[in-house]
């Protein structure tokens, strides 16, 4: 039987960056706020636990950020990765507001550090959290506690009752009991649905069963599905997600940053038939890592194999897993369970089409290209000849899905009949409103922070 809890003005569903920004903003405006986080305390924070930075516009040096990063440059970087599938009005709102967020984050306990070793290319555009996303989450929970915000962990929201243009109540389970609360306003910040493999398989087809989920296993899209079923406006393509190629030995869930592999530009990548399938040297890695998840997903068994030789081993950030190693290509093929004849042929063909390698430059587009090879490798093409040889397996690692709740510039949700007067959304669950496809490093935290604060402000204004 459902039991009544004490009265709250606002229920925030979710416990990551967007949820916390919304809750703190609302509490500072005088609202009584309850956070319902489905994860247990050690895993609180959703995907924010695994993040590391915040992409931030700035007109001059700001905190850890150097030089400037203008609204137009930021937008143009975004449009490049989304191929124009971006709501420019909302995107500009996020970008423009990001600048005032950074000092706000510091006031709420976040500490920044200089760009990490290996990420110098982001020193101007992305502010790195000292200790990473979990320390940001920890700081926000401390600040939230100081503001009198109540938090329930392992509180799984099962249903939001939509009646006409408002949410009447929220049902959730907590400590083995069902609860029903009737807050004045609700903010949904509970992420995408990527951890629900069945849903992912319905959207993607059978290949999705082989995908790995890089972040939290708790984003199963329960609230998202519940709201979409009741006719809340949706946005985004269910097959679109942020997906990168990660080490094939990563766990099914929650492997995070340490499973990523940065060696593709210095390698050839083959499928299980030992055939190449894409230009490994198309662009510098920070601009290409987010397409390789889909490339690998399109290969048989959704798996790829990276092959490098000794001279390239120290050119990229290490993964937590050491590479497989062999003195000959035949032996490497055997270790990696690839057809040895085909692999040696593929490598020989590649090697034969490489040209002069004296201009090799690992951190710039060096124009070292193959000639007459299909598909070509258009940069960093050096013959794979120097033993020992090394290999990694690659799998598709999904970060988050883009199908979500459509919001306006006040983060408010709507149905076909108009706005829902007490429902707002923030974070990954509405990021599809801005990101149609592709991804820009650090932009998810920016969307979460900007829209979290907007949702908190609007919900508090309604509830008061």
């Amino acid at each position: 039987m459902a039991t009544q809890m004490e009265a709250y003005d606002i229920a925030v569903i979710g416990g990551g960056n967007a949820a916390l920004c919304a809750a703190m903003t609302a509490a500072e405006a005088g609202a009584r706020v309850l956070i319902l986080e489905t994860a247990p305390k050690p895993f609180r924070g959703g995907n924010s636990r695994h993040t590391r930075n915040f992409r931030c516009m700035h007109t001059g040096p700001l905190g850890p950020l150097i030089e400037e990063y203008s609204e137009d440059e930021y937008l143009s970087d975004l449009l490049k990765v989304t191929g124009g599938k971006t709501d420019e009005h909302l995107a500009r709102l996020v970008i423009r507001t990001s600048e005032e967020c950074l000092p706000w984050m510091e006031e709420h306990g976040v500490r920044f550090q200089p760009s990490l070793s290996g990420t110098l290319s982001l020193a101007r555009t992305n502010a790195f959290f000292m200790g990473g996303g979990k320390s940001l989450v920890n700081a926000y929970y401390r600040t939230a506690a100081g503001l009198g915000i109540d938090v329930r962990y392992e509180a799984a929201v099962t249903h939001l009752e939509l009646n006409g243009d408002q949410i009447e109540w929220v049902d959730f389970t907590y400590e083995g009991q069902e609860h029903r609360i009737t807050p004045k306003a609700v903010i949904v910040a509970s992420g995408g649905f990527q951890a629900d493999t069945d849903w992912l398989t319905r959207a993607w087809g059978e290949p999705a069963k082989n995908f790995l989920i890089r972040g939290t296993p708790y984003n199963r899209g329960v609230v998202l599905a519940n709201l979409l079923d009741q006719g809340i406006e949706r946005v985004g393509d269910p097959t679109q997600c942020h997906a990168v190629a990660i080490d094939g030995r990563a766990p099914k869930f929650d492997g995070g940053i340490v499973t990523r592999l940065d060696c593709v530009p210095f390698s050839i990548v083959v499928n299980k038939n030992a055939e190449r399938f894409y230009d490994e040297g198309e662009d510098i890695w920070p601009k290409r890592y987010a397409i390789w998840g889909r490339l690998v997903a399109a290969q048989p068994d959704q798996v790829g194999y990276v092959i490098i030789d000794a001279k390239s081993l120290n050119l990229f950030m290490p993964s937590m897993f050491p590479p497989l190693k062999a003195d000959t290509l035949e032996e490497l093929a055997w270790v990696m369970d690839l057809p040895a004849d085909k692999l040696t042929t593929t490598v020989a063909e590649f090697n034969a089409t490489c040209g002069d390698t004296s201009g090799f430059h690992p951190t710039e587009l060096d124009g070292l290209t193959t000639t007459g090879l299909t598909p070509p490798k258009t940069n960093w093409a050096r013959p794979i000849t120097e033993p020992p040889f090394f290999g990694y397996s690659l799998r598709t690692g999904v970060t988050f899905t883009y199908l979500g709740l459509k919001v306006d510039d006040t983060a408010q949700c709507s149905s076909r009949d108009g706005k829902i007067k007490n429902l707002w959304a923030a974070g990954e669950t509405m990021a599809g409103s801005i990101l149609g496809q592709g991804y820009l490093a650090g932009f998810g935290m920016t969307i979460g922070t900007v829209f979290g604060r907007i949702a908190g402000r609007e919900a508090a204004a309604y509830a008061n």
Binding site: P42, R49, R111, L116, S117, G131, A139, G256, V258, P318
Partner: protein, 359 residues
Amino acid sequence: MQTELIQEARRQAEICNACRYCEGYCSVFPSLHTERAFSDGDITQLANLCHNCRGCYYACQYTAPHEFDLNLPKALAEVRRDNWESFAWPQPLARRFHTHGGAIALALVIGFALLLGAIRAIGSSGGEGFYAVLSHNAMVVIFAPAFLLPLFSIAISLRHYWAKVDGEPIQMSDLMAAFKHAGKMQDLAAGHGEGCNFEDEDRFSQGRRHIHHAIMYGFLLCFASTSVATVMHYVFGMHAPYGFLSLPKVFGISGGILLTVGCGAMALLKLKSDRELGDPSAWGADIGFILLLGFVGLSGLVLYALSSTALMPALLAIHLGSVLTFFLLMPYTKMAHGFYRLAALVRDAQRKRDVFLVR
């Protein structure tokens, strides 16, 4: 050395090296991130750079119940203790005091007994103040070797350490960098200067840093007091007892207060902290060492306060007994950490210099 401790620290360091989120916290991570593979010497160096501030633990997305089960502060603390036991000389002594608080207590009782015995047996041939109980020459005969032998032992230990971490000839700039770092206890401040995560999960606090400062400077003041008095005695012929405003007294009393208060506060702080984020097997002995050091300070202050009463001879034996025990155990207790930390910081300065030159 215990290979399974090194191996566990190596497993964790490899994960840290693929993450790097903690780079800004302390000296451990920039040093870790310059390597791709970690030799036993690398792990030894990292372990001795770690000051157990725990910032990285609470920031870590991979701590238990996550399957990667990272707990770098604990892994490095265990390697550190194993290092100190392995490098110590002579060996049979080395492996008792880091893990057995009772052994420290026993040593203290023996220290009292030795001093009482010395007072009984040697006594004094006349003299003022404390020298009326035990003559100056007798004190020198007891304490000069009790001070110099442990230093000799520590020098041998540090040579073992230096060989393990592939140390190079030391330049003045290395020493300057290390002393500057240690003087401010920079590695207890976290990268943003807000302190450790020691007493209340992920809350940053300067408590541990300030308390450690009190203990370190308190100890150095007490040491300065004795040193100044030695110079006054031998160079200027000015013999104890000294007046309240004399340098030995000013240093000694202020140092004694800092030491006593600091050690008391440190013991309380350790009671509040999570033992599983350090080396649990060393917890009792660490507390024992802190109490011994605090007792040295406290007994010195009490001795000074009651020096004109009939209790003085007994108090003198108690104080000097604790000092004797403290010095003799120096190479085999937590006290060794100061020397290893400095050596690690000197080596770190060298490595930074080398990396800079290569670039």
